[in-house]
Symmetry: D2
Subunit: 341 residues, 4 copies
């Protein structure tokens, strides 16, 4: 790698922005060129994130898309849903390849997007062009893409274990139940009463049962895995911890299918993958063991006639910025681990 | 109430012992007479639990069953499973009525107990005599009993919402999935590597999927509610908080049954109950809102064609010592709330 | 007690309001009559605080001072500083006695108040009339007062241990250093980025060193104890826990003064007090042991030639609403513990 | 760097062992050759620390010092105090250079060690040979040494800010007070009742005031800085968080010394250092901003006539294994940051 890839982060002062910065500063093939934000303008990013003190002198600046197109080979969009689409829309077609961490390009069907996010998509054509990127499942498509739709955190934790099982017809497509648990950073750096420490600490609750926006995203991807329609029951929970996500998935094996076939399928798909680890028999994952990493740990057990799968990721790692950098590495021909370990 | 009821706590230096002490010191009809333990002998209980400083001068002493029988109208057994049975066995028949917080008398079938707890029950006859006590569901039986089997924490959180629905045939008995989450005090004051702060904090995991000892306890009670056999999938999780328990329950309503019928059933059973609260429509419980109390908060929602129920208790309150004191209040004719609010 | 005392809480939807509600609902001599707030208008207070579900049907209403004067014997002001003064100013002189949890009447010198809180006090005359109430130190004054200035949380934790030592001339007035640590609920239910879970959890920091508004409050009270001017170094810290406050105080004993004299002084002042506990020799307090209570636990040790004192309270209990209710009990002739245990 | 340095970790299954493994696996100039432990024998280290799943196949083995001498250029001793000395004693003199994370070689005076640790040092001669290694302060000595005494966590957090101030005579040597706060991982992976989650969470306490073993270590090093005897008051506290350490230091500037001189001294010593960051004026450090890193963040403020300094490190990073690897990098001629960012 002679020339370094020049990268910009747009939306640098949220948590996914912070993680992307950390990974890219560590990355030996990247020159992190520009940080765009609405706040901390002209101030060092280390004021927004003191953990970056001494790591970089980069400052935040107002978004300037011409500058991005001129200077940068890659742009990471760490923007809210519905805001990202316009930025992406204006960048795609230039030499700058876009990695969008929002939901704006995750659906193939614009009607689903419009319904789920309650807005009218302004760049529906780009939905076809965008690649939903989980490198372990569609590395080749990721390689060539110019608009990468980085998956949601919950969907990543669910799709990784279920994709092989649905693709190989090992489990029923009906009756899949996902009881998901997320640390609080999953809500971003949003300032809301429900997220202040005294409300979250020493507490636990479910929210948006059957109504979370990640449910249709999960259903679309699992549908593609199974080759048909999949409907799931998805109930997320807020956990009093900063980082980490655990999805406990309940499903029914097809007749004659047991632990061995499940294990074999996971091994077949992931044995050679670095970031997805099927744990040893009898072992269930803990979120602490993937915190701060890009790993996904998967464990499972039979419970009665059902199959229980537990999948742990860091919601900001494999669930967001880590996977974004992994996708970037695939897109630009780097070792997938670069910047991530 | 003229004469105060004299009470002893056997196993006073664990967390359920501590909570029982706090409730009984507050109880206007009780004289807390004796605290028995294996440790802190001859030392004030406030050394074991400094939160009791200034509240009582009671000291721990070695168990003396004759003393209990002579002096005490009631004995709370805050002992490990398999240890409680012998103490209960020796007390039953005396004037001392026993409230056992262990699992030793929770099953009606001794074979189930022996299998689940891996020992041979020494007092199988007493299983018939014991009353599994959830006052909201079997107050009359509790009243007259001399050996009260206080339910497990997970079972309490599950039985309270499901009992009315199964009894009224509103949901299918098959396919019930319980994804339960417990704070760490549920493991007691046990000293184990898996329970030290640095292992539990900022982490999350499932454990014993389909194999937890509370599963058969749940199944027996739900079976009695439905009038037939019930098998559930039960997966408990360890949450980085001290107190609190949330059970997220997935089940299928019978044809034609919707939110209204579910709400009506919960209201019919619990409207007049103080400690069980069916929350307003659209509201799901948070464990913080029942922490330190004897309340159970129940909320639910339809998710697709399924029903999702969330039930929150304090694992040491309604899940253990709180319910024990509530049962005691029923047994001895006190207001059920006495000592508990 | 025949007639119940009628009480109002003004500012019911913050954390000190919530705690006051809980204590007063439990109080056998109080009828909690009115809850005033700016939000949750006409809605049950249990919507603001689901922990109150089933405990009360009271609703929030807009402040109506005439109603308060007509109906209520006592008003608890759980309002922000600078807002409380006007409400108090309008109530004092009516039959309604005021317990103000804000700082608005804590200083005797209006110039100090104006400087510290950056506003001009509108009722400077009332400062003379107001009583700074720590029942253990000035019970008689509290009894007769109509305007009770309830102390700050940090000051309470500091004054309780230092008052006897300064009064008895056991320690030097110079060089007192207070390293104070507070749980996050001390900041109230305020919604701010610095208070969201992901910023506070797994973190620790000092703030406002030498500049916190509680420092002059501490200095005035310690000055009164010592009979001269006292200047302290006060550095508060934010701790990743919801409730609890620990002040570690460093001071120098006068020549010839050692542990025994310190212990004797604490005993002389507090031996007969229920809520202030000087711990056994060699024992230092933990905040968990006073959480949810109105207790103050005090421990100390000699370290080299200095004296180190640790004082633990619940910032919302003895540090705010608990002490307010204790003061109320003194004012209205109740047992001081009523509602508080 | 052609040949990789071969390294062993002795005591691999504790928290400092885990961190050292993580750093050394990431290190491009190191081949991590052997992991020695008393437990997990013949089992992959990823069973002890699932966070290492997929990162290494190394297994734990019984200590074999001949193997270490034969194979390894460097040995990291992550052993308890009093155990490390014997291992070090047997390795020193071979080609294997020793980095000892215990306290066994931190004191220059064996009598102090024997008194503080309550044992008789078996290799007192080696105390002279050992180098107490804080690279920012004595890089040259570290370079050449064969036995590196890696500083304690509390001492590191205290010495870094105070060394320049004492050396430059900016503050009084008398009356230094250190109120230190540590996350729970500072106690290691020790299994003790006082460290279980339900005891530590939502609590806070001081321990060993004036008696902690790190106090004499601090005093020896500060004495060397000042060129005379230094006595400090040192009170550590246990904080409900996993990682992180904050020392709040109270001291008196010499006459005429103010913020500017303090700032200049810190800049003079640390401006060119990567891992020690004097924060911008008015900024105090948060432990979260150094968590998982080898950084030390230092902030300060005048409070009255005193100086308050806050110093934050990760107790397992700059406070233990991070600094050990930094010292290793100096000893073996690597870039100091290698493996650490």
């Amino acid at each position: 790698m002679n020339r370094k890839i020049k990268a910009a982060i747009i939306g640098a002062t949220g948590y996914t922005g912070r993680e992307a910065i950390i990974y890219l500063l560590r990355h030996r093939g990247v020159e992190l060129k520009r940080l765009f934000a609405l706040d901390y303008l002209d101030r060092p990013i280390s004021e927004a994130f003191p953990i970056l003190t001494g790591m970089t002198d980069l400052r935040c600046q107002e978004l300037d898309l011409e500058l991005v197109k001129d200077e940068c080979d890659a742009a990471f969009l760490c923007l809210p849903h519905t805001v990202a689409m316009e930025v992406a829309g204006k960048l795609v077609g230039s030499k700058t390849r876009v990695i969008d961490l929002s939901a704006d390009f995750r659906f193939s069907d614009v009607k689903v997007y419009n319904r789920v996010y309650g807005v009218k998509h302004e760049y529906p054509k780009l939905l076809e062009q965008a690649v939903y990127g989980i490198p372990e499942l569609n590395r080749e498509q990721v390689k060539g893409c110019n608009l990468l739709a980085n998956p949601g955190c919950y969907p990543t934790s669910v799709i990784l274990p279920l994709y092989p099982l649905l693709r190989e017809k090992l489990i029923a497509v009906e009756g899949i139940i996902i009881d998901a648990k997320s640390g609080v950073s999953g809500a971003g750096r949003k300032v809301a009463e429900a997220l202040i420490f005294a409300e979250v600490n020493e507490s636990l609750k479910a929210y948006s049962p059957g109504k979370h926006r990640h449910q249709p995203e999960i259903e679309e991807q699992l549908g593609q895995a199974s080759g048909g329609e999949v409907r799931v029951t998805f109930v997320p929970h807020l956990i009093p911890m900063t980082r980490g996500m655990l999805s406990t998935i309940y499903c029914r094996p097809q007749t004659g299918i047991g632990e061995n076939q499940v294990r074999k399928a996971l091994n077949d798909y992931y044995e050679k993958e670095f970031f997805v680890q099927a744990l040893a028999e009898g072992t269930l994952p803990r979120t602490a063991d993937v915190a701060g990493t890009n790993f996904c740990h998967i464990g499972f057990a039979m419970a009665g006639e059902g199959l229980v799968i537990c999948s742990a990721i860091d919601n900001l790692g494999k669930g967001a910025s880590g996977q974004a950098v992994q996708n970037f590495n695939v897109m630009f021909g780097f070792d997938e681990k670069e910047g991530l370990v």
